[in-house]
Symmetry: D2
């Protein structure tokens, strides 16, 4: 691999549409795959966290890749999520996806157990030494054992097959430390950010691209954000980054991930089906409210109709502070305030 | 189920011995199962965290239960870990294990994604409403989405099939809050602690028993700790609890879980094989050092031979402060000090 | 100091009553001091976290000790909080309180900056080597730099003047590790728990006593809990520990610490005044609700009148699960549910 | 205040030089003040975290401001840290500093106790309504109660006197959320970042400036970073940001804050004296090693001589991955590796 060939651009970690029986909806997954490609994403990233890889069986994970490889027909590179129960099965998956022709695999750090850096190293070293296809490390410390800078540096320097890292920490100095440590020695090594809220600044400090859930909802905007930023049109890029932040925050913090993104994709015309993680009655109500919020955000860009009840005139201005996560936990504060506001409106409180 | 029939005693979350090819070592697993029963554990808990359930395939998890049910032949109740990729598959596992005749299943809270209490509720509610066999909630907030007190209370009050909780937080007031909230309404509901370091005080404030990794290493001691505590012989119980704490800390904090327990079980005469999580060279060295420490601790009780190099005269007195986790991360401080001490001994530093 | 002389029993970390101008209410502080002594606490602990030491000036902290020493007239030992802006000023405070005749000082680990174990060691070593009066280490990791087991062990072994630790982590195995490491070498060293929710189990595993905020509200009960536990009357002790847990949880989790304790003390007949940390209108309403809850809990013991609106028949049974902290942050969930319940009651939601 | 007058640029949170007795070294503080101004910082920020405000007495904090106001003689604006033990004393400090002519005060969120957003609101609302001088909120969640976006938005909308926020979280999306929520309504409100590692990207997404500890060490570089970034010379700015990151990481993670910065300032020719937080022997050795590292970094820019032992040829390339914080706690891993490497060099390990 040459330096110029390193992974770059926006790779979409796609949701998997389900049918009424909770099974993979192949036709909708195919339609979605082509829709994304047509709207300009640089690549696809099935079996990521957005793709709920842990909620599918081994066989289903393979089938998702097979369907998407077939539908893509080489139009864009595929980064295939390949984490399985242990290194032997993960290497099997790498081999299988390599035969299918994916550009690279992406492997999340071991999860459930919180492993030490040394164990994280040993895990990826074994995989990196045995995979026939390029490996992308996937660091998502909120869900899995963290891949720290010394560990990823060791891996990058020792394993030529390990060729990229997707980092979803959202921590810019952390990304800079990785780039500073690895790029002088591995110009072919790619750095991708999984944190949609910071794509523009990440690109500006040296990242090569992103794997961003919002690109599965508004691929047009995410692609444009990438093009504007690398093209140096920073004022336009900044404005777009703020818009994407609003959508990202709404989808991320008002429902358990990735339900908000599933709801948003439904608004773009896909039959996504119910997720495999059950929802309580209360959550069903909340997701309905969130859907209206998302519809208003998408309607501003012409991507969806406004909800039946209409959108607030100042929706744009008001959204951010309402929906971000309070330091005391989730968006509960805004829920409390919403209920109290309702009480006041009815003349009670 | 009547109030007197609730789960109680020590349930061993057993390690799964592997052969040279990394596959389940059935004969050794059978020998281990009977060895545990003969040494007095009240029950068995396969496919727990100690059993590395996430590192086995669906088929392997089933086979582990099948082997152990067959070997146990009803001598003690089995609590079968039944968590699978999603609720549908988890309910399938419940049905299968029910047909095998297990006493109950144990299901860990959803992991990887960090779910809200409402999602945790919906998950277990769906399972509790559909399982043909008693369900034990498994709360281990260091690895999985926490099951908070309101959530476990809702589940206990709404789902008769949910009949116990195993809590590995080690937080005694948390356990008391759960007991205070549920016991008046569900006298049949059992509370088990997964935190070996606090079995005695947990029993004294109302717990019914424990699922403790050390019981897989020193079942004789764990059983005796239980008997002494419920028998009110507190001075003897306390002394034993301190001994178990030393062993627990050594096994838990000097290697990534559950490798320390695997090493200790090897010292008791079982061929446990290499774990499925690879180790680096550095870790191989460290596990050798830990093995000596564990050998000294087990030798004190006559459960193992002293290591070749012998044991320090004051091993017992010195262990605790050396091995516990420093607030700045793991036992690194003690490693640094060990290396420096070694330098000094050789007249260098 | 001999082994039998080590600190033991319940030391009350007292609130400081304020007058209408927000200044120390000396007469009320004197009345409160004697009231506590008469109700059986073994000692007093002014300028602790409950005493809001950080919200007073240097001069005020000294005056609080002077008033209480004078009022106590040697009836019980005083453990004087002596942490000041830096070691020089802290040592000055130690000298001053020593001249006043306090039994020991208590010094919290450095706060604001999060210091490494080595810095925590250096801080206490300097104080321990220079204080003329016994020093109690105060470990409260939720507020200050943690004092880990190796650090407290070093300090205990190197500084004879350091004679006790007050640990507010509430972690029983942590307490056991400290006892195991230090007691063989320092039989005079005392271990006190600052976590009211676990006094009984802490005493049963070897603690010498506690410094507990609830003892400032219900000194009769806390003293009785101590006596019952050390006297081996465990069934009665357990029942009392559950009662204290309910009060502790209500006071701790429904308002920012220590406002709930201030409200509770008001119900026992003391004019505590408004705290120095301002409250919002919303908080004023919430503290009123909390006051009613606390009044019901205290009324059960005959310590306060029921609130005007009466108490729910099943208050006791229902409190715990309502008031404990949800994993998604504080008691917001119960607030939301409270508001929704109110809406339903009025036929709106 | 008009929109164009909002605070902007680099404000230096200065260290306070101490003399041999540990007292404020006035002449050195004056020399340092003028040195900073001459090297281009836009303003000064005494009594910040870098300035160790908590380790000085009330009187000393006032004297620091008085000295620096006098020395500055209006050449640059001063942002005076004004947090005291409670709101009354904090407002007194605001009044005093207003009389001295400071541009604004900066007030850290309440610390020690971890307060809820509602309490943080009430605290700043009281101050904002009573201060005669502009108030900068200071959010540093690693040390003090967090100021979340809804809370800072409420304060910005309700209190005209609150005119800026200094945010040291280093979280770019968090900064964007605050800007999105407040700027449309308060164009005069300034956003400053306290996270030196991300000044360039923070400025590019809309920040007005920074209060950065490295600007106290290399004011020439920090000023140039600001000028290059706002001037759109991004390639040069990026290169400089990476340099500052190396210096920041070295100074921040190899010693307890702010000792690394104190050591670095010594290398620039100031007699900073020993800090008020004592150091152990081990720390004295470590700070010597760190001093050499910092000397090499500063020597690259011509700001200091190389240490006696010289600098490694590839110092620049190697530093980052060595010194950053391991996920398992501090830089202990690198220390261990250093000791082991030393052992190997001497033919022992």
């Amino acid at each position: 691999m040459t330096a110029t060939a390193r992974l770059h651009g926006i790779f979409t970690p796609n949701i998997v549409p389900l049918d009424d029986r909770g099974q993979i909806n192949e036709s909708e997954l195919r339609r979605y795959t082509s829709w994304l490609i047509e709207r300009g994403v640089h690549g696809l990233y099935p079996n990521g966290s957005t793709g709920e890889f842990t909620r599918f069986s081994v066989e289903e994970r393979r089938r998702i890749i097979e369907i998407m490889v077939d539908e893509t027909r080489g139009r864009v590179p595929i980064l295939a999520g390949a984490a399985e129960a242990n290194v032997a099965e993960t290497i099997d998956a790498c081999e299988h996806y390599h035969r299918l022709g994916v550009r690279a695999v992406a492997i999340v750090s071991p999860f459930y157990y919180k492993l030490s850096p040394e164990s994280v190293y040993a895990y990826f070293k074994t995989i990196g030494d045995n995979s026939p296809v390029d490996v992308t490390l996937y660091n998502i410390p909120m869900f899995a054992s963290p891949i720290d800078v010394p560990t990823m540096t060791r891996l990058a320097l020792e394993c030529p097959r390990i060729a990229a890292i997707k980092d979803s920490s959202g921590d810019i100095p952390h990304m800079m430390r990785m780039i500073a440590a690895v790029r002088p020695h591995r110009p072919d090594f790619a750095f991708l950010t999984g944190w949609d809220a910071a794509v523009m600044p990440m690109l500006l400090i040296g990242c090569d691209g992103g794997t961003n859930a919002t690109s599965g909802i508004v691929p047009e905007l995410t692609r444009r954000l990438y093009d504007l930023t690398v093209g140096g049109r920073l004022d336009e890029a900044r404005e777009l980054q703020y818009k994407i932040l609003r959508l990202f925050d709404a989808a991320l913090y008002s429902a358990d991930f990735p339900e908000g993104f599933r709801a948003a994709l439904g608004l773009r015309g896909f039959r996504v089906g119910a997720g495999r993680q059950p929802m309580s009655d209360k959550q069903q109500v909340e997701i309905g409210t969130l859907r209206d919020t998302l519809a208003c955000l998408l309607a501003e860009e012409g991507f969806a109709d406004e909800p039946v009840g209409g959108c607030p005139a100042d929706a744009a201005a008001k959204r951010p502070q309402d929906q971000i996560q309070s330091s005391t936990g989730g968006n509960v504060d805004s829920i409390v305030q919403g209920v109290i506001a309702e009480l006041k409106r009815r003349g009670i409180a």
